[in-house]
Amino acid sequence: MNITENVQGNVHQVYLEGRFDADTADKVEEFIRKKIKKKISHFVLDMENVSFIASAGLRVVIVLAKELRGEHKGDLYVAALQPSVYRVFEISGLNNVLSIFDDTETATQSFN
């Protein structure tokens, strides 16, 4: 799992690449939690290059989104999902609680 970041205003765009499973979920969580500690509260998770998401990945996304919404008045948007990944969001019902966008640009703009 490769994680890269691009900051645009107060929005941090986090680009993931690879499989988002039990082995890599912790890495993503740790990466974003470090930012949250630095009072960053607006994230867009770009998953254009994520081919697979496991339940552990789903857990990280929903937990972080919940936390950001609650305590930090922020949010975690999800963008650019591949169809197979979107299906997982759909099955689990996370598409109903998370803000999912077609691309990172749109997601970033909708923060403002």
């Binding site: 499973d21 039990a22 697979f52 496991a54 339940s55 552990a56 789903l58 857990r59 929903i62 937990v63 919940k66 759909e90 099955i91 689990s92 019902g93 996370l94 109903n96 609680v97």
Partner: protein, 627 residues
């Protein structure tokens, strides 16, 4: 060959080479030196005797006789005076036993004898005058016109006396005709001196005087020894011009090795050729006694030196290899599993000592590791037995037997990735006609997932006894779970369906779980298809979520397959997913089999698919077929 033997051989060779070389050359040098000194000694003795004889001749005899000759040549002296001169001379010259002046043509010579010797002759019944006086014929035969003659050795057996004759020519002018002065000399002095010489110490030591014909002097039987090696050598050199002296090694009369030397007393210029030869001999054993003793002593020292070298080699090789042997022994003991070994390192501050220290440290570390390993193993065993217990408990949550019903056939199987897992399924009777079927998947796996699953199961069981509509059950389940669990951030997906076995009517709902596959003659053209999704949300994350509800009628020959994503998300070595498509195809392929057989085959297929890869997730299936 052991290291010890090698070291021993090397040390001995190292000691032996210098010892051997130096010993050998030392023995050689000293032997030569001592041999030549032994020869020198013999020569010195021969020279000593020679000088004594020469001394006798020149000073004792010839000198005084010359004086007498000078005196008697005085033409003014009468016969009486001459006789008194002879008498006086006789007294003053030691060993002189007779003096006579012979003049050619005169029958009676002037003749005097030593009184003492005459008495001795008389005692032996010999007439002194007849015995000692020389006839003119005898004189002529001996002298042969020479100015000085010396020789004519005679042995008087009766008186046991050795006599020598010296004839000096007298001035013809004084006597008017040829005349001679003859002297008879007793060689007793020389004989005594030889016999009492300090050289003679043993029976084989000998000092021999021989004449030029090889006959022994002072030997009453006048033995001819000219064939005897040393005498022959002397004879060969008899007429050499230079002063001759020599030594020789030869075999003596009684087969003994002898060392001999010879020398010739010189009477020059009076007599040209030597009168006699002095032979000195000694057995080689005696002569080279010092050589032999030295050789023995040196040999003894070499043996002692060699013994020390061998002893040193033994000590060094043993002291070098002993700690090595101890190490070997220690290593052998360790290999038998005894780690209480400790190598003695005291007194060894060399590399071997360091090796022993390292060895001891290794044993100590090994002991420590073994102890740790033992503890770890114990802890692991404990954990394993606890885990086994947990597995048994968890398995008791899952149905193993399924009701044998007239209308439907059900079978399910859970295969956890580890000992315990987070998958859940159940099939239970609600009332006479209604049966519930549920499948769930806790996020994660292992013990935490198993615990969360246990809690979820209890909650679910409680709810189904109060509520019959699946969507209501799951909505309530989610809210309760969120309320129950604050902070673990775990969630569970559930699919729950209620079937009327008589009508085949199925009402179902899902909390974020994969939708089941259904084969329906009415709705799916008799092949397996996934049920369409609905409003849903995984349970345990957010409360207030409404779950959707759907219904379907199952008829004879229809089937529904519930599963967890451990089946579809299994991965093979090429990083390919097993996938829904493959599952769908296999379901169709196995559609005519019994529910139990289908379960067994599908799980076996997934396992075969992921051969060589670890099982990432728990796999669970629940299959229901309408008879």
């Amino acid at each position: 060959m052991s290291l010890r033997t090698k070291l021993l051989v090397l040390s001995i060779i190292l000691a032996l080479i210098p010892l051997g070389i130096s010993g050998r050359s030392m023995i050689q040098m000293t032997r030569d030196e001592l041999k030549s000194s032994a020869q020198d000694h013999l020569i010195a003795v021969a020279n000593d005797i020679t000088r004594d004889i020469e001394d006798d001749f020149y000073h004792t005899w010839l000198g005084p006789l010359q004086l007498i000759r000078k005196s008697v040549e005085n033409e003014y002296l009468g016969a009486k005076e001459k006789l008194s001169l002879l008498t006086e001379g006789m007294k003053s010259i030691s060993g002189l036993v007779a003096l006579q002046i012979s003049v050619e043509g005169i029958e009676h010579p002037l003749f005097v004898t030593q009184e003492k010797f005459s008495t001795r002759l008389k005692k032996a019944s010999l007439d002194p005058a007849r015995t000692l006086m020389l006839t003119s014929g005898q004189i002529a035969a001996l002298q042969k016109q020479k100015a000085v003659f010396a020789g004519g050795l005679t042995y008087l057996r009766e008186a046991d006396a050795w006599l020598m004759t010296v004839i000096l020519g007298l001035d013809e002018r004084t006597f008017g005709r040829p005349a001679t002065l003859s002297a008879r000399l007793n060689l007793e002095r020389i004989k005594k001196r030889i016999e009492n010489h300090s050289f003679i110490k043993t029976k084989t030591d000998a000092i021999i005087l021989i004449e030029s014909d090889g006959r022994k002097i002072f030997d009453p039987s006048r033995t001819d020894i000219s064939q005897y090696s040393i005498a022959a050598a002397a004879k060969d050199r008899w007429h050499a011009d230079t002063d001759t002296i020599g030594t020789q090694l030869y075999i003596g009369p009684d087969k003994k090795k002898m060392l001999g030397a010879y020398a010739f007393p010189s009477l020059k210029p009076f007599v040209e050729t030597p009168l006699l030869s002095v032979i000195v001999e000694k057995s080689e054993t005696d002569a080279y006694l010092a050589v032999r003793q030295m050789e023995q002593r040196l040999l003894l020292w070499i043996v002692i030196g060699f013994s020390f070298a061998v002893a040193g080699a033994v000590i060094v090789s043993v002291s070098l290899t002993r700690p090595l042997r101890r190490l070997t022994r220690g290593a052998r003991i360790i290999s038998q599993g005894d780690l209480s070994v400790r190598i003695e390192t005291k007194g060894h501050k060399d590399e071997i000592g360091e090796l022993s220290l390292a060895f001891n440290k290794m044993v100590k570390d090994l002991r420590q590791h073994m102890k740790e390993l033992e503890e770890t193993t114990k802890a692991k065993e404990r954990a394993e037995s606890e885990l086994k217990l947990a597995k048994d408990i968890q398995e008791s949550f899952l149905p193993k037997k399924f009701p044998e019903l007239e209308e439907i056939e059900v079978w399910g199987k859970c295969d956890p990735a580890r000992e315990v897992g987070g998958d859940y399924f159940d099939f239970f009777q609600i009332d006479d006609d209604h049966y519930g079927m549920v499948i769930g998947d806790v996020s994660g796996k292992g013990v935490p997932a198993a615990l969360f699953m246990a809690a979820s199961r209890t909650l679910f069981r409680t709810l189904i006894s109060q509520e019959h509509l699946p969507d209501k059950v799951l909505t309530e389940f989610n809210d309760r779970l969120v309320a129950l669990d604050q902070g673990s951030n775990m969630f569970i997906t559930l699919f729950y369906g209620v079937l009327n076995k008589k009508s085949g009517h199925l009402v179902y709902s899902t909390a974020g779980h994969n939708m089941p596959y259904v084969k329906s003659s009415q709705d799916t053209d008799g092949i397996f298809q996934m049920l369409p999704g609905m409003k849903t949300m995984i349970a345990g994350m957010m409360d207030g979520m409404e779950m959707g509800r759907a219904e379907i009628d199952l008829h004879k020959g229809d089937a529904i397959v519930l599963y967890t994503d451990g089946m579809t998300e299994a991965i093979n070595r090429n990083d390919e997913e097993f996938g829904e498509e493959r599952l769908e195809q296999l379901l169709d392929k196995y559609a005519d089999m019994s529910a139990r057989e289908m379960c067994k085959r599908l799980i076996a297929d997934v396992k075969a698919f992921q051969t060589g890869m670890p099982q990432f997730d728990d796999m669970t299936m629940l299959i229901l077929k309408v008879k």
